[in-house]
């Protein structure tokens, strides 16, 4: 039951993109086609899950016992950057098709604040365990995927629309994101 609540909260109620504003750069940047947004979501799911499990263990068994808590930000970002590189190298060798699909997005993920954000937020969960932290990361990446894919499908339709001159480009995309976020606000009382 607790896990179902985490899932619903992360996907609908506190959607990572639309209500917590993490990962806005890829959300606005790679959302012009549904196919690329699916690739990006896959890459985020992959990296976020691995990164959160590694950073959680690191925090729990190294940083806290040694009292080096203040090094959290530095170690986490280094671990994530190294991990992204490693995932890239391993994928290239082990699964070329998957690398073909996700490859372009991997370097972008280092500066995706959703990954670092979830790694930090996962530490603040109630009675957190490794399993819970990993589940939290997976739920959040599903939320990221949902927001990104829905947004990309709307943007594909927008290309056919007649938009006022001043609204073209960035403003209309932000407005669409705003309306999408408004729709997600309707889930507020769910949990």
């Amino acid at each position: 039951m607790e896990y179902i609540l985490i899932l619903i909260a992360a996907v609908f109620v506190n959607n990572i993109v639309l209500s917590q504003f993490l990962g806005i750069c890829p959300f606005l940047g790679v959302s012009n086609k549904v196919s690329t947004s699916i690739g990006m979501s896959g890459a985020v799911l992959f990296v976020m899950t691995i990164a959160t499990s590694v950073t959680y263990l690191l925090h729990e068994y190294i940083l806290v016992p040694t009292g080096l808590n203040y090094l959290r930000t530095i170690t986490f970002i280094l671990v994530i950057a190294a991990l992204v590189q490693m995932v890239e190298i391993i994928l290239k060798k082990v699964s070329p098709p998957l690398y073909q699909a996700l490859g372009v997005f991997l370097p972008l993920i280092t500066t995706n604040c959703a990954v670092l954000g979830v790694a930090i937020l996962a530490l603040g969960l109630e009675n957190s365990t490794l399993v819970k932290a990993v589940f939290f990361a997976i739920s959040n990446s599903i939320g990221f995927a949902l927001a990104l894919i829905v947004f990309a499908s709307i943007r594909e339709q927008l290309e056919l629309a007649d938009i006022p001159e001043g609204m073209k480009g960035v403003p209309i995309n932000l407005l669409v994101a705003g309306l999408l976020s408004l729709a997600f606000l309707g889930f507020t009382a769910l949990v």
Binding site: S19, F21, L116
Partner: protein, 200 residues
């Protein structure tokens, strides 16, 4: 290209022509996430300005020592060190702001504006130009965040910098304090900004 710019143009480009928020769309997460009031926007802007200034300085000073293959991780470590300093100083001296900005303080590390300036500018230019570049970009970012925060605060809670100018029981447009309001306010602000920067 950079040599052709005078120092004044170098400073001004960050505020108008290449404004990080309205034109380059960098650092959108804190822009949208913390601007529920003008004060928060200003605080975030100044914290980012500090990290940007220090990291640009350090990067431009040691750029010849960093092997180009590991430059990105090196930049990230430099940035993360300054972010940790900001985090500790805010927690100690301005706990109120520390609470308000929350997770977005450690996330200054992944603000693409800072890494972007280190990579695109400071690693190629001398100390003086890098400082001016950082000041211009940082002030442009601060202005954008404060403006967005002010618009949201005025519409959403009928106050500005916590000074309330409507009656206690007045209805305000709560939407602008909530997440959707951030997107909508920024959309219209960037329309206005584009209009102004085009006419100039």
């Amino acid at each position: 290209m950079a040599e052709k710019l005078t120092q004044k143009q170098n400073f001004l480009k960050g505020i108008i022509k290449d404004n990080p928020v309205f034109v380059m769309l960098l650092g959108m997460c804190p822009t949208l996430g913390v601007t529920s009031s003008a004060f928060n926007g200003l605080g975030m802007g100044i914290a980012t300005l500090f990290v940007l200034l220090m990291s640009n300085m350090v990067v431009s000073l040691i750029k010849s020592q960093i092997p180009s293959k590991v430059r990105i991780p090196a930049f990230i470590i430099i940035i993360a060190s300054f972010v940790t300093i900001v985090e500790m100083v805010l927690e100690a001296y301005i706990p109120f702001l520390f609470e308000q900005l929350g997770i977005f303080i450690p996330l200054i590390v992944v603000n693409c504006l800072i890494l972007g300036r280190a990579e695109a500018f400071a690693s190629k230019n001398n100390l003086m130009s890098s400082i001016i570049d950082a000041l211009g970009m940082g002030i442009g970012f601060t202005i954008a965040l404060t403006a967005l925060g002010a618009v949201r605060e005025i519409l959403g809670s009928g106050s500005i910098f916590d000074w309330r100018f409507v009656l206690e029981d007045a209805n305000t447009m709560l939407l602008f304090i909530l997440p959707p309001g951030a997107f909508i306010a920024l959309a219209y602000l960037s329309v206005v900004f584009n209009k102004i920067s085009k006419t100039n």
